[in-house]
Each structure stands twice: as C-alpha cells, then as structure tokens.
Symmetry: C2
Subunit: 318 residues, 2 copies
C-alpha cells in the first residue's frame, strides 16, 4: 500500500490553488471566553461546493492524464463528495457520473446536477450503488474517484491544514472530524510535517465511533448502524486513511449528540456562519473536555456548511 | 440642523478603527449567475455584536469628553443598537443604561446584559420607553445616544461604505436597507464623496415603506403600523437622516416579504453566512428588478446577523 506524504500535499496545493478558495481563518472572542482556549477556525464551509471535499476532488481530477480524463470520472455518493467531483470535473471540462440513491433529498440532487454532474439513480443500498457504478465503469471506462481512500484525495484534503498552519505556525493542537478519514489523514500528514509540536486530535460522534474503536484496536472496525446528526461521518475508515491515522494522529475523542448541537449553535450564533453538524464535532469535543484544551492554541477545521435549512436541530435543543 | 459630512466619517474611522472589525467583503459566483450582476457583500453581520450598529455606537461613545463619558450613556432600544452601545460603553469603561420593553425576547436581554449593559425594563410602549429613559437621564445626567438621528452615529455607520468603496472603487451602485436611516445616510455621505459615479439605492420592505413615501413626498411621513419580517426596519426616519437621504440618495426600492425571505435563503445557502431579514432587503430588490442591475458592479451592505434560530422563515417559504 502506497501512502501519500507531505510532498504530495505540496504538489496538490500547487495544482489546485487556482481552482479552490483560500478560505479564511476566523476567530471568536466570545467562544474563546467560553472554552478558555484560543481557537482558529479554518472555514471550509466557505470552500466551493460548501465543503473541504472540493480540494481532494480537484486534486484527483486535475492529476489525471488527458487520456484518462477524457473518458470522465465517477463515484457513488449522495453527499459533499458528489457535488465536489461534479464541479471539479466541469472545471476540467469532463464528465462526472454520480450514482445516487433514488431516496436522496431533492436539495442534494439539485446540488449535483447544478454543478453539471450526470446522475444515475439506484436503490438505496450499498450493493446497488456499487453495482450501478461498476456497470458505468465497464461501459464507459471512467476513472472512479473514491471519496477518501485515495492518495490524491487525501493529499488534496491536506491542503486545508497546510494553509491553516502556514498562517498560524504556533498551534498546539489541530482538530478535525473523522468519518472515512480523508480529511483527518490529510490533516495529520500536513501537521506532522509542518510542526514538530502540534498534536493532531480528531473528534467523532459517540453514535458513530468506529474510528475511535479502530484507533484503539489497531485495526479497522467497520461502522455498524451508526446514528448521529453528523451525517457526513457515517462511513467506515479507508485502509490508506487508517494507515496514516494510526501512525500520525495523537488522539480521537468521542462526543454526545447534545454537545454537537450545542457547538453547532454556538458557531451559528456567535460567528454568524453556517456549518453542518459534522463541522461542529471538534468544538463539541473541546466543550466536553475544557481542561484538556485550556490556554492552548487550537486550529479547528470546519469541514462544511451544507445543511437542510428546513430541518434544523435548534428548536429541540432547548 | 447641522449635518455631518465626509470629514466626520474620516474622523470617525480613525477613532474607531482599533475597536471595530474591518469586516470582509464576500462575493458569490452562484448568486452573480442568478442576478446577472457583480455583487460585493460587505459583511457587517460579522461585525462585533453582529451588526453595523457597533460602528456608530463606538464613534458616539469614544467622541464624548471624559467628563461627559464618566456619567455614562443611555438609550431605549431592544435591538442591535442596545447591544452595540453596551459593548462600546464597556470598552470605554463606562456605564450604558438600556431601557427595554419587558416583553423583549430572552435572547435580546441576554445579549445586552452579556455586553455589560444595565437594563431597566418598562411597559412595551414608546411613551413608557421615553418616560423611563428620561427619568434615568434626569437622575444620572447620562448622555442619550439616539440609534440613528445623531451626527456621530451617522458618521460611524458611514465607515462601512468607506471601507467597501476604498476596496472596490469602481462600484456602479451601493445599496443598503433603510429603517431609521442611520446606515443609509452614512452610506450616502461616504459614496457621494468617494465616487463621482456610484449611485446610492436603498431598499425597504413594502410593508414598512415610510422611507420610500417620505423620499417621494419630500418630507418625513412617519411609519404607521409597519408589518415586515425585517424587524430592524420598523422605525421612522430621523430628521438629520432624512436631510441627507433626500439630498444624496438616488432611489428607494420597495420589496415584498416573499422576496426578502428568498434573498435571505439564497445568502444562507450559497454564501454559508447568517444574515438577519433586514440584511436581505437589498438583494431582494435586485432579485425583483434584475434588468435594472444587469452587468453592474453593486456593493451591498449586509447590515446584521442577529436572528432567532428557533424561529426561522424557511420552512414556510416553500
């Protein structure tokens, strides 16, 4: 198994720089007062397509040879990776075939087709998604871009942490959420190369704690019936991701659903920016473990901002 | 009646620069595609206390002599001006007496007291608010800082447009919402001094169109039973504000409630930032009058981001 290294992140950054937003880093004195720490939020919710996923998708697509690219790319996903792949493909002028469960919400269908993705609907099972994608691959010889278990995707995701640490080189800790591990493995690679002292701490919903359990066990334990509002964090770790995570990540902390909603609300109310529940998981971990982070400079990657405005958790949080 | 001029805005900027955020200007290619224009959003929702009001409050408070300031300041307000005055006063180390209707929402009470304001509750009528404030003024000899009909407040609010135009000197139009006229009069003063060609267009809810009717009539017509979701725009124009507006503003456009909600949703979904309904009124005017703005460079001041997350209009907008 070939693992990406920091050189791949540098190469990725040079390649995708002109396509991505260099997202801002925001601070909130109100939230710092609450946590007793100094938080630096890297706003990937303000990235194109509303999520960090655009970085990895861009790197994967612009790394293809012209011949490979000419046949198009594909993935099965109903979330942020699908939208990111669709936009990156349309920027390169190639086709992106997206296999989506027919049960996907209207807003997700509109996002993917709005970015120019060619949608094929299937039954809402993993088996049907894989089978449908395989048929398209055989027929059209497209390149499949996995959402996280892919060297170039990981290198692309690592550029967010690279930008953050280059701007704030004295971070004591860098944090991000963990689902499949694409963002976390890229973040860990960047942090361990750019800083000798910055710890990498991931945060995960207790209701979807397969990464935490895998990290402790030393081997991948697949996600089983996960249940969390953080809908970007339901998947199991990829093998490449796990290899990097088990080597470079210092800790994974699990958090309650209540803390996720509380953290999400805090960021909405105090910072006036929209983040999706997955993005709130690191701040939830800080809120639940204040003494661990007290007086530390903590970089937090806000992974995305794609939420269904008609179905928000705040009313019930009171 | 003494009107402020652009020199007052320059002085204000020099005075308050170190206290305020120089808020970012954001763009959205998705929204530009929808409107057919080039929009530059000045994000005062990301200003301290979540609204432009902090600029004017800061200028008013830091312009006081030490003797005046030592007795404290006061206002009657339940909205963004109250929070802004409370924070600016606490930054100068003086007291801010805020008269609020007892019926104010919990979230507004918490905001004002959280910034150190001393709240006096009264009956929810204008008469009770004025009487209660007058009692405090007589007793404590405090300086009353009017939310908009005040030369220094107007000069402070004008610094937002000054920052925007200094960054983007080629705007064809600059827009903001109009309620009492503090932001609009400051914006018009700045725009007419910094650019010979930039038109100033205000936007107002049709359900609270007293500024539009005053502008057309040539004299102030008070607001009568206004009804709009844009709760920052319910008040009548001040005299100083009207004098500047009738001289320097090119047009006032009224918009429907549906357009306000649509514009608000567009900014939340596409830009991933939280704005209050009042902030969405200029974009609503652009959406309702696309041909007027086509291919123009339009600066839009997003006035604030203080919303009640438990009472959002999106579900009913479908």
């Amino acid at each position: 198994m070939i693992l990406p290294d920091f050189q791949d992140i540098i190469k990725a950054h040079n390649l995708i720089e002109k396509f991505i937003h260099r997202t801002p880093v925001m601070t909130s004195s109100a939230i710092n007062r609450i946590t007793g720490s100094e938080l630096y939020f890297k706003c990937e919710n303000l990235q194109k397509t509303g999520a960090f996923k655009f970085r990895g998708a861009c790197n994967a697509i612009f790394s293809l040879s012209d011949l490979q690219a000419s046949k198009g790319v594909g993935t099965h996903s109903s979330g942020n990776h699908a939208a990111a792949l669709a936009l990156a493909a349309s920027m390169r002028g190639i086709k992106a075939h997206i296999v989506m469960p027919s049960t996907s919400t209207e807003i997700k269908k509109i996002a993917v087709s709005g970015y120019g993705g060619i949608i094929t609907y299937c039954e809402p099972t993993l088996e049907a998604r894989e089978r449908t994608l395989n048929q398209i691959v055989l027929q059209k010889e497209i390149e499949v871009i996995h959402p996280y278990n892919n060297v170039r995707v990981i290198a692309g995701q690592g550029t967010a942490a690279k930008e953050l640490i280059e701007l704030f080189p004295n971070l004591d800790v860098i944090m991000c959420p963990v689902g499949g591990g694409g963002l976390l493995s890229g973040t860990a690679l960047a942090a361990k190369s750019l800083s000798s002292s910055c710890r990498v701490i991931a945060a995960e919903p207790a209701g979807a704690d397969d990464a935490y359990r895998s990290f402790k066990a030393g081997h991948i334990i697949p996600s089983h019936q996960p249940k969390t509002i953080a809908d970007g964090l339901l998947t199991s770790l990829g093998e490449i991701n796990f290899a990097i995570i088990s080597r470079d990540v210092d800790e994974i902390i699990t958090v309650s659903e209540e803390s996720i909603i509380q953290a999400m609300r805090l960021i909405w109310e105090r910072m006036k920016i929209i983040i999706e529940p997955s993005s709130a998981v690191p701040l939830a971990a800080i809120l639940e473990n204040e003494p661990l982070f007290r007086n530390l400079r903590v970089g937090v990657i806000l992974s995305g901002g794609n939420v269904d405005l008609e179905n928000l958790p705040f009313a019930s949080a009171i």
